[in-house]
Amino acid sequence: MNPMVSPPIDLATEKRHLGELAPMVIKVALAIGVLGIAGTAWLAYGAHDGGERFYRSYLVAFVYFLSLSLGALFFVVLQHLTHSGWSVVLRRMAEAVAANLPVLAVLALPVLFGLHHLYHWSDPEVVAGDHLLQGKAGYLNVRFFLIRMAIYFAVWAGLSRYYFRTSLRQDETGDPGLTLKMERLSGPAIVLYAVTQTFASFDLLMSLDAHWFSTIYGVYFFAGSILGFFAMLPIIFYLLQRSGRLTHSVTTEHFHDMGKLAFAFTVFWAYIAFSQFMLIWYSNMPEETGWYLRRQQGQWAWVSLTLLFGHFVLPFLALISRYPKRRRGMIVVPTMWILLMHWLDIYWLVMPEASEGRVPFSLLDLTCFLALGGVFVAAAAHRMRRRALVCEKDPRVAESLRFENA
């Protein structure tokens, strides 16, 4: 016998279902959601601005949760594309978060109702007086926008449901052929994902200022989404382990890897953000610089600086060492901070277009966040109420349980 053999982790002895926790989580999340909805309704009704402010706050919250689910979908597809073994025990939760995309399709409806409040290109009168917008009308018009939204959500809902269901089916049958099937689809899936995610970011966010354009915008939104997801993932497993679930199967090595990914995408986000800023700043062309100018004037300058330090410098310093990444309680602190910064990033993308020089923080931002967040968590918990929290019969689950960081 080799002296270094450690007993293998046995999934069968592991508490790997939400069990009695599920109804509680759903109730609390729904309560928060209902509170958020009620508060939102009350505040929006009392604002007497025709919903202007509500729609913007809603868009921020909606895009925020959308980005987390999109990040999760990307993670799931990428794991299959790369035939990854280490991440098998993490994949189910990612699948569950991604499977919120059909829910988000329904939650997109308020954005569509508020189209005229949010997007100036949707107003025929504005377009009639704007030469640039007339040139773009072939793309930026209400009907095509709705068609595109339908396509995006159809693709996302289809992919996320496929991956979630096939993975659940494998829990029952243990058929390794299902893994091969999911891997085969992952190539086309990632292509579809890239196209829909990029154009969705153009449509939902970039067209808030329809004069402005930036080819890297899709990559910027992608970087933020993935980072947000990698920040959320260790928190999910931390909470699950605190409640006694998956205490052995998700090891220190997994937390280390999640921390590494959060670190890597912190740097990637900064790289993309800097590339976009640098090129526009240096070229100094009026048709582009206005977008950054709005974010550098008045109170927005402080938000921009907060992003520079809070979205990059602080997480970079907090995550660079191996030490915190291998400690569960320590890793979740910077990742919670990143989740907050990711929200601020989206806020920073949306709000300056309507409020120059002033940061219009409002209670509506909070209530919309709570409303959507409550629904988001409740939907995921409801989905997982009777499911295993790990892909227990994945052919590579043993590898995932036993891998080590060098």
């Binding site: 080799n2 002296p3 270094m4 800097f274 800023f277 640098m278 700043w281 240096y282 060098a406």
Partner: protein, 180 residues
């Protein structure tokens, strides 16, 4: 060697596989030796723990050098373009942070990488033109397919007989003296 007697510098033990080597390393470690080493053709996983090695301080050295590189790179650009040799080109400011980031970044990486490489060599005492283990004819296979443990005679616990028997009982295929 001008006629003088060869001196015993230590013992060299040869092992056939990583498994045996790992167990032998644990025994040497537990016996309390400090001036000894294992020699392998490739980094053997788990050997650091088996030998009881502490993690190197190299990372701190690299980090310190990298920070100096970042600060130095920024300072250099500011001093050269905004202090010592000011000239206006394309109406650009003499000094600005965004335009300084690429060069600052490259210098940070350059200095850190040099620190990692040179630091690794320096901490390892390389380059080293001579070492007593090279006197062994067997030792040429340490870079090929065999595994060795060498224990220096300078080790306070070293005793030619007991150390040799420890190595033999730990599974060494051959134990031979190192002399020069």
């Amino acid at each position: 060697m001008t006629g003088s007697e060869k001196q015993l510098r230590g013992l060299l033990a040869e092992f056939g596989s990583t498994d045996v080597l790992l167990r032998a390393a644990e025994r040497v470690r537990d016996a309390g030796y400090t001036r000894w080493d294992a020699h392998t053709p490739f980094p053997v996983h788990g050997l650091d723990e088996a030998m009881g090695l502490k993690t190197t301080k190299l990372s701190w050295f690299v980090m310190a050098c990298g920070l100096c590189g970042a600060g130095g790179g920024l300072l250099m650009q500011w001093w050269m373009n905004a202090v010592d040799y000011k000239y206006i080109i394309s109406g650009k400011p003499f000094f600005s942070i965004p335009a300084s980031i690429p060069v600052m970044f490259e210098i940070t990486i350059l200095v850190s990488a040099l620190a990692a490489f040179v630091g690794m060599l320096a901490f390892n005492g390389l380059p080293e033109l001579y070492h007593v283990v090279f006197t062994s004819r067997r030792f040429v296979r340490a870079t090929n397919d065999r595994f060795f443990i060498s224990i220096e005679s300078a080790d306070p616990k070293f005793d030619a007989v007991t150390t040799a028997s420890l190595l033999t009982s730990a599974g060494a295929a051959v134990v031979e003296p190192l002399e020069d």
